[in-house]
Symmetry: C2
Subunit: 899 residues, 2 copies
């Protein structure tokens, strides 16, 4: 309830720690994911550094108030700090047992590295002495102080991070040190003075010494970072609404860098690459968390097993700090059992005391996700439906894409860390912007960086793979690439990158921008040139999840295919028939295109029939093959759809070439092209309109289908019941006219072969008129197939070929959230699909309804199809597994699952 | 009830005559128009030759039975003939008081001359002697017999009419006669023998002597003629369904050619050219009806008044046969009072006895129709609503089109009969097919024929005007041209046409195919070359009907106009505001196109604004003028709609020219054209999509509108409330984005001018998505305007520019009845309009709804708009009166009229 409503103050702050908490895990909307989890962990009695969360509501008030903290927050902050002083027995700003805090962002959904953090807050010229005294390590205290000034200067005061780094660099050079850790207390003191001078120089004000001012500044800065450029880009890419806002978490500082009994690390409860149940992670002794993530020092493994596998000589946590290791192991198990999800945890050991700083659902590869889901289901932690529901269907894509062929020759340039699986080939590019530009030109590229940062996200998104010189398995590059399902090789230390010259060298050999390399994310290899790839094996956990999904889903999944290769691939991916065989694709191959062109050049029906007679046996053979591959499964064949001019040569050069090869006058092509020219071919003389102008084309196709059905029925022993689909119908009279021709041919072929032919005739529903007239059309159509590509074009009045020029404006300006050609527009196009389904069923109760647009492979669109009770979705072969899984999830969530 | 149902025979025959009848005027569907009227007239006690009607149902059975007469008809025919013998005291086939009959077609709706007729049936070698005896005129009896053989041979037996004419021609030459009437009985006997020999020669069978066989053959022939080519064409042109069938009327023969006391003629109860209440028509003494219609002999006038006006020296019916004239006058009055419609009657005087053969609603010019309706309403015969409802709105078109300027110099080549009013200029063409070809090329032509026949209909349809050498005011050419609203000059006897050489001569001067002439249908003049035309005066009956229509109609009528000239014309036609001002049309004129092109070539928003600043004052002045012309009336202005490439030069030649004139590099145009190229511009970067990519264009237009509103408000003294319309909206977010810019500009202009600006922002509904999302869009739109042109294109997925290549196949194959771009597709596009209206109103109760596609001027579409309760229709200026009338009729018929 709001303050305005009842006179009570809005509660902006929720405390946690000391085995209790005001919030819990269900409150992520208000407390952010991190805050809700900290509260939950605290309630579970886990050793969470005590603290409190400022709500996302406060963040939203901050922005609606012109970037001012909401009224009342100040007092609540004071109260929370007092509570914190009480439970810790420390005092903020005191020169004895001084209280230091971290200030971190935490949105509803994790946005790693996108927003700002301030650590060691509370330090000033006085309290730093208290810290030195308490830790017994002046150097550490001063280092902490200078880190704080640097972070605060950057994050809160907006001073370029590099200016601080420059001072530090000079200090090291002056003193002749290599590492930060080599600096003495005295040297740190000098750095601190220079830092303070830099701030006074750059800003109107000096570095604030009052911890309370520091706190207010940091809270505002973290809120503000919700609206920074990289956070906005990340939200756009991940469909996170700006209205969510971020929470701010304030906790007491714990130090992993308080000597050799201290450490900090990150750990997953299972291996995020393959899903194996084991602690998996990295840590650094005497370090702060940022040191691990930044990838500057190469971290140690958590377990002995991992250390041995990696051939590392750095002692594992298991070995080095066995008690902390046991505590981590125990906490990981408890958290997994609690959340029923693989956990991604951050921990710190401060002088032997174990603290858990954060836990969240761990990002993982698709392969790992499958294994984890299957393992959890088999161990009883999840039901089968829960396990199936948990897999992101889109993530399967990475499993379906090629990996490097086992016997392909490998010219290995360098081996880094296998940070994200899969393989990719592309040209070298060094700048994210350039990667984006190349991708827009349709070129594959590999983004090569020293290390990546949130500013590089758009380039990582655009690249086919990522190679970094520095950073570990949990570095920014590795985490983000795994999330994107892109191959990544990280920490390939012997790669020397020169951004200015746009090249890198490996052991003296140079690779320039534009050179082709291949990444093998599975083993960390970087290979020269393009390398042969192979299809992945779809077994193990993948097969188990797919089998479960198949048992659960109601809708069938068919494929869009016309070549034998595609049809076979689709069957291997589990397709249950062909939902769309586009016969025009068959017309382009080999010699047949000449016969097609003869047909188009013909001036009379008689001449057209001569050309069509040449096509008949070829087309029949096409169908025989498809029917044989799909033996026993339904095959929907769409009659010729595109306008005829698409089959003619286009440029003068092509015309001359083709005319010569066909031994005809080029003028015939020019004249025909001229006659067939259309202002808007998308809305032109195509689909059933061709069948009505030239019924002889339909007759040839129908004959080929029926003769092939008879032949394949005999060869496979199972009767073929072809489904003939008439494209671009808007009037039932069109369908009736075409169906009459099909029926007549069926009778002829029955008479000729003496075989009874069963078949169905149906209609594409891809025009708005077909949708609203579905009742009338269903009287003549035995099935509908929603062609949502064209339906989207006509419903929006938007040519897919031309939309790219403005659709990016639309997304940038928030006018559409997602490209309607990728994910079905439920409100508009979806409404027409609903209307058509309703009216079609009213006219013909048992009408078969399917979808064959590219939306048939899009999970969100598949959920819609389930809600409409469609009988099947049809998609490209590689999306069949995605569709199988998405259909199962839709059924699970809508309560229509079969088991 | 059908025979199969209850054991009773279907009644196929309805008798009439002798002051009674089995049918009546309401039974036109079953008895045809002529049959129903004969029955009605007979019941009224009028002197109708007795007879009977075979129903249209029998005709339909005939066709469904493979062209066999239905079972039972034979017996009914016998019964009807027996009845006819009884009431006439005559006997069919008898050689004493022999009964002769006519056999005529008669469909539900009149199809003049399209089907076949057989006269004098019952004559044979024996009965001809009886006729000779009874008439006391052997020559007449033989002439009748040879006419019958000729007609029967042509119509029933299918022998070429010309072969008979050849025999007749030879006979006249041999005998040295000029006229048919000069032939003696002996000579006719020879002709008859030759006719019979011709038949025996051409056919397997000889001419049937048994009258009962003759009758059966004639009935079948008349039924068959329902399916002849010219009847099919006529039905297609006039939207008459084939399922209607034709009835057959069999009546006793009455002879207008039984000597000088006999005559035959046609008469209208009012003047069909100007509507004046008077008997108007023609007759021939001693002739059969076909002689009048065929235009071979020049007929006499009915009244003295008409004879004097025409300067004819042939005595009028009034003078020559005063008793018959009085009887005709009396019958005309009675029929008019009975039917409350102007009558078109055929009559025959046989040896002093007056017979009325047929009556039907008379075709008339639009001008006449208006005067008749007004006169009938003023005399109390009709109510005002009935009078308004009676006028065909489309017919007003002919009143709105130019006539020859009074002071234009006239080079009169020849003067014929003023057969159909209006004026037209075009190139001379002699063949109907060629007229059609020229029209398809967009060329105006005048069809010049010796006389026209039903086979020429398609050419008359294609031509702008018709000129004939022969025929009177009721000749085929005259009747059909008046029906079509096309100017016609008939019977221009001094024109000598040579079809073979494709020329005509007038007094030795030659005019060739392709030469330009002008027809003045108002006075029958044929003028050399093109002549200045003027707008008609819209006063008198026209103004009265319009005023009545305005009082009755509920919907407002606005116009689509952007030029001051069009806006003024529309106001003079009664437009009540502008429903669509297409601002892009303003961009093409004069110097402004250069600024538009500069704007398009600009690479930055800044450069675009520089160019837009040049356009602002011009655009503002455009709006000031429109607001001033429309002072006090609403003006809806549509923001820029077409894709930008439409404003650029297209060919290389144009590019060079324009680049030179703009003093810029042609490469800039080529590059921009290339960048702006679209595969489907209709579905491209246009409408509000432009406004979103380039909001500065919207801002300029909004500023021009608001500044003009302030200025015109001051100059006219009545506040201007502009309605700003956003085109091509499919998402409410689009409208919201554009509206925000408009609102911001409104605030600026208010601040700058200190004037409060009232305005409305609304949306075109021209995409299917806008229709289904109308609820959401209405939350942001104060009005909707249905753009049914684009809505038809997208709903059908049919490009208007490309559809002509197949739409003719569609009409020919019966797949669509009418071009959906001409008359709104109610089932599909109309359904979307309904959905949008319903959803829009649900979201915003008082939303204003209008239509601004070309359907806004189509009467059938206007009826639909009334049924949907739209607030207004908007159409091109010349269609405003049509829309006013159609809106009134829609209100009358739907019970929503205001008075």
């Amino acid at each position: 309830m709001r303050a305005e409503d009842d006179g009570l103050m809005t509660k902006y702050i929720y405390t946690f720690g000391d085995g209790r908490a005001e919030g819990n895990a269900t409150m992520a909307a208000l407390l952010g994911g991190k805050g809700a989890n900290l509260a939950e962990m605290s309630s579970l009695g886990l050793p969470v550094p005590p603290g409190f969360t400022i709500t996302t509501e406060a963040c939203n008030s901050y922005f609606t108030n012109g970037r001012n903290l909401p009224e009342g927050l100040d007092a609540q902050l004071d109260g929370a700090m007092a509570w914190l002083e009480k439970v810790t027995g420390r005092k903020f700003g005191s020169d004895d047992k001084t209280l230091l805090v971290s200030v971190r962002s935490g949105a509803r959904s994790s946005m790693p590295g996108m927003m700002d953090t301030v650590l060691n807050l509370g330090l000033n010229d006085d309290t730093v002495l208290a810290l030195a005294r308490e830790s017994g390590d002046e150097r550490f205290a001063l280092d902490s102080y200078r880190r704080f000034i640097q972070m605060y200067g950057d994050v809160v005061m907006g001073i370029d991070h590099d200016l601080f780094e420059e001072i530090l660099h000079e200090a090291k050079e002056e003193a002749g040190h290599e590492q930060d850790t080599d600096l003495t207390a005295a040297e740190w003191r000098k750095v601190i003075e220079k830092y303070k001078a830099l701030i006074a120089d750059e800003m109107e004000e000096s570095f604030p010494q009052d911890p309370r001012d520091q706190l207010a500044g940091a809270v505002k800065a973290v809120f503000s970072s919700w609206m920074n450029q990289r956070a906005i880009v990340y939200r756009t890419l991940n469909n996170i609404p700006a209205e969510w806002g971020t929470a701010v978490n304030i906790q007491i500082m714990v130090f992993g860098n308080m000597g050799t009994e201290s450490a900090t690390g990150v750990a997953f409860s299972r291996n995020p690459s393959n899903g194996k149940r084991m602690l998996y992670g990295e840590f650094l002794v005497n370090a702060q968390g940022e040191d691990v993530v930044a990838g500057i020092r190469t971290p140690h493994d958590i377990t002995e097993e991992a250390r041995i596998a990696a051939g590392s000589d750095k002692p594992s946590l298991e070995k080095l700090m066995p008690e902390s290791y046991e505590e981590l192991l125990d906490i990981a198990r408890r958290l997994e059992n609690h959340y029923k999800e693989m956990q991604d945890m951050e921990f710190t050991v401060q002088q032997g005391k174990f603290w858990i700083l954060q836990t969240r659902t761990g990002k993982r590869t698709a392969r790992a996700a499958l294994r984890i889901a299957v393992d959890m289901a088999e161990s009883g932690m999840l039901s089968i439906a829960e396990a199936v529901d948990r897999i992101d269907p889109a993530s399967l894509d990475q499993l379906l894409h090629p990996t490097i062929a086992p016997d392909a020759p490998r010219n290995v340039l360098v081996t880094g860390l296998p940070a994200s699986p899969g393989a990719a080939t592309g040209e070298i590019v060094f700048h994210p912007d350039e990667a984006e530009a190349l991708a827009q030109q349709g070129k594959d590229c590999i983004l090569v960086r020293v290390e990546t940062s949130p500013e590089d996200i758009h380039g990582m998104h655009a690249a086919k793979g990522i190679l970094t010189q520095r950073g570990g398995m949990t570095s920014h590059a590795a985490v983000v690439a795994r999330g994107m399902g892109k191959p990544c090789v990280a920490g390939a230390g012997s790669v020397r990158i020169d951004y200015a010259k746009e090249l890198f060298t490996i052991l003296g050999k140079t690779w320039k921008k534009g050179d082709i390399i291949t990444l093998d994310g599975a083993n960390g290899q970087v290979l020269a040139g393009a390398v042969d790839m192979v299809q992945p094996e779809l077994s193990g956990a993948f097969a188990t999840i797919m089998q479960w999904a198949d048992e659960l889903r109601r809708m069938k999944v068919r494929t869009n295919a016309e070549t034998p290769a595609d049809a076979r691939a689709a069957r291997s991916f589990g397709a249950e028939g062909i939902g769309l065989c586009r016969t025009e694709h068959m017309f382009f191959e080999g010699e047949r295109i000449s016969a097609v062109r003869e047909m188009i050049l013909a001036n009379t029906e008689e001449d057209r029939r001569v050309a069509l007679d040449k096509l008949l046996p070829i087309q029949r053979q096409d169908f025989v093959e498809l029917f044989e591959i799909m033996a026993g499964l339904p095959v929907t064949i769409r009659l010729l759809d595109p306008p005829l001019h698409e089959f003619l040569p286009n440029t003068e050069e092509e015309i001359l070439l083709v005319a010569k090869s066909m031994n005809t006058d080029p003028e015939r092509f020019r004249a025909r092209l001229n006659a067939l020219h259309e202002s808007n071919p998308m809305l032109g003389h195509r689909g059933c309109r061709l069948a009505i102008s030239f019924p002889e084309i339909t007759e040839m196709q129908a004959r080929a289908i029926f003769e092939a059905a008879v032949e394949a029925g005999k060869s496979t022993g199972s009767k073929v019941v072809p489904e003939i689909m008439v494209p671009l119908v808007s009037l039932v009279e069109e369908l009736r006219y075409v169906k009459a021709r099909i029926d007549a041919v069926a009778e002829q072929v029955q008479a000729e072969t003496g075989e009874k032919i069963d078949y169905e005739v149906g209609s594409m529903v891809e025009l708005p008129r077909a949708a609203v007239r579905a009742g009338a059309i269903a009287e003549c159509a035995e099935f509908f197939s929603f062609g949502t590509n064209d339906l989207t074009q006509t419903t929006f009045g938007m040519s897919r070929d031309d939309a790219s020029s403005y659709i990016s404006d639309y997304i940038a300006k928030g006018i559409v959230k997602r490209d309607p050609f990728v994910s079905l527009d439920l409100e508009g196009v979806g409404d027409l699909v609903s209307i058509a389904a309703k009216r079609g069923r009213a006219a013909r109760k048992d009408i078969t309804l399917g979808i064959c647009g590219e939306h048939g492979g899009d999970p969100a669109s598949i959920h819609f199809c389930e809600s409409q009770g469609l009988d099947y979705v049809s998609c490209s072969p590689f999306r069949v597994p995605i569709a199988r899984l998405a259909a199962a999830q839709a059924a699970i969530r809508q309560g229509t699952a079969r088991t």
